[in-house]
């Protein structure tokens, strides 16, 4: 059987979900027997080099780059999984939803209690920087997402069970303890 190809990315996330992937411990040795990684922070491949079977998305969409990467994943992956609360509902970055962007930037770069070094009082405005979106969006409100694995982070057992089920085509059982929102 040809190895399944997996790609992962972190959009507006904290990399906690990726840490949880690593948290499958020694089962990672079994995993590399079953899959190969393509575009992912795990192997630092920047661009897709082939068609991918399973794309794993951590984090929601808070800026234009997130949207672009997410669409890039949708175009190149057969199955997309939203991994973790941020990808599913925006998560903590979505706490800014409803607050005007100007106010957010003002607080972060000018008025915040820990702002000390911004002597010229400038907001980041380099053309290279992605544009912030008006709100933080869950991934499935931007592209079609096939599966959702909740948690903050999702339990390693949940990720493992889901990957094994997808790779082997077997049914997944969901023990009560592994599906949690925190």
């Amino acid at each position: 059987m040809a190895k399944k190809v997996i790609a992962t990315t972190s959009l507006a996330g904290c990399f906690g979900c990726h840490m949880s992937i690593l948290d499958i411990d020694e089962r990672i040795l079994d995993l590399i027997e079953l899959v190969e990684f393509n575009k992912s922070p795990v192997d630092d491949i920047k661009k897709f080099t082939k068609r991918v079977d399973i794309g794993i998305i951590e984090g929601g969409c808070c800026n234009s780059e997130n949207v672009e990467v997410l669409k890039y994943f949708r175009d190149n992956c057969d199955i997309l999984i939203s991994l973790g609360e941020c990808a599913i509902m925006g998560g903590l970055p979505a706490l800014r939803n409803g607050i005007p962007i100007e106010e957010c930037l003002q607080e972060a770069y000018l008025d915040g209690p820990t702002v000390k070094l911004n002597i010229k009082k400038v907001l980041p405005n380099d053309v290279e920087l992605p544009q912030l979106l008006d709100n933080v969006y869950p991934c499935h409100e931007v592209v079609k997402i096939d599966y959702f694995l909740p948690g903050c982070p999702p339990r390693a057992d949940l990720i493992w069970d889901a990957l094994v089920a997808l790779i082997t085509g077997s049914e997944m059982d969901l023990p009560y303890e592994v599906v949690k929102f925190d």
Binding site: L95, E141, P150
Partner: protein
């Protein structure tokens, strides 16, 4: 003694006393019907619709409907459970329920119901409404983002003279449960704790507690909500 009657839930015949609601009869006989706004000791009002059941092809709320002899009830069926799941999903998208940053996570009834009915993602779009947090009172924080307007605090939290600490403000879309500012000033620790405990979500929090119980030891970490009723 009240007259004993018999009703059928999902094909199982159970006895009930006349005057009992369907929820009471079911729970007394090891059958779980989920509830959210319903609270032991206060008159049920059936506003959250979590306890929706089907009697003679009609949807009814099990917390307000009295048990009657010969009733045939559908409870734990695919159709009814999906209706309940959609109600949970609506509650999640119509407020700001950030479980990872909520002090009540693990002890929250709304979250526990979402676990029980295996909500992976709501089928409805998130609304992220703009709501405030009232932290003026010395003892408690009232977070409107998490409030589901179940009215449990209004009905159960009062002082020794029967005056209520909480009340509805406005109507319709802008309706909010608010705390009486004057009464909040003299609120005792016991009342504050009771208010927090009676709130099914993390909308009422006792100040200076924060995240008290570690993950793994909280109420709904290991066992689903309702398992205490089931045989």
């Amino acid at each position: 003694m009240n007259k004993t009657i018999k009703l059928k839930i999902d094909g199982k015949v159970i006895p009930a006393e006349e005057g009992q609601t369907i929820v009471q009869a079911a729970h007394a006989n090891g059958i779980y019907i989920p509830t959210l706004c319903n609270f032991e000791g206060v008159k049920p009002k059936g506003c959250c619709r979590m306890c929706t059941i089907k009697i003679n092809n009609r949807y009814m709320t099990a917390c307000t409907t009295p048990a009657a002899d010969g009733m045939e009830i559908e409870n734990n069926t695919l159709e009814i459970n999906d209706i309940r799941k959609s109600i949970i999903e609506l509650l999640f998208v119509s407020g700001n329920h950030f479980c990872p940053s909520c002090e009540k996570s693990g002890n929250c009834e709304l979250q526990a119901l979402a676990y029980r009915y295996e909500m992976m993602v709501p089928r409805f779009p998130y609304t992220f409404p703009q709501k405030g947090v009232d932290a003026k009172s010395p003892k408690i924080i009232k977070d409107q983002n998490r409030c589901i307007s179940c009215k449990r605090c209004i009905k159960t939290i009062e002082d020794e003279q029967g005056r209520k600490y909480f009340a509805f403000k406005d109507r319709g879309y802008t309706l909010e449960v608010v705390l009486d500012e004057e009464m909040a000033k003299t609120m005792t620790d016991e009342i504050a704790q009771l208010a927090m405990d009676n709130c099914p979500v993390g909308s009422i929090l006792k100040k200076e507690i924060g995240y008290k119980e570690p993950i793994g030891t909280r109420k709904y970490d290991k066992k689903p909500i309702g398992s205490e009723f089931e045989v």
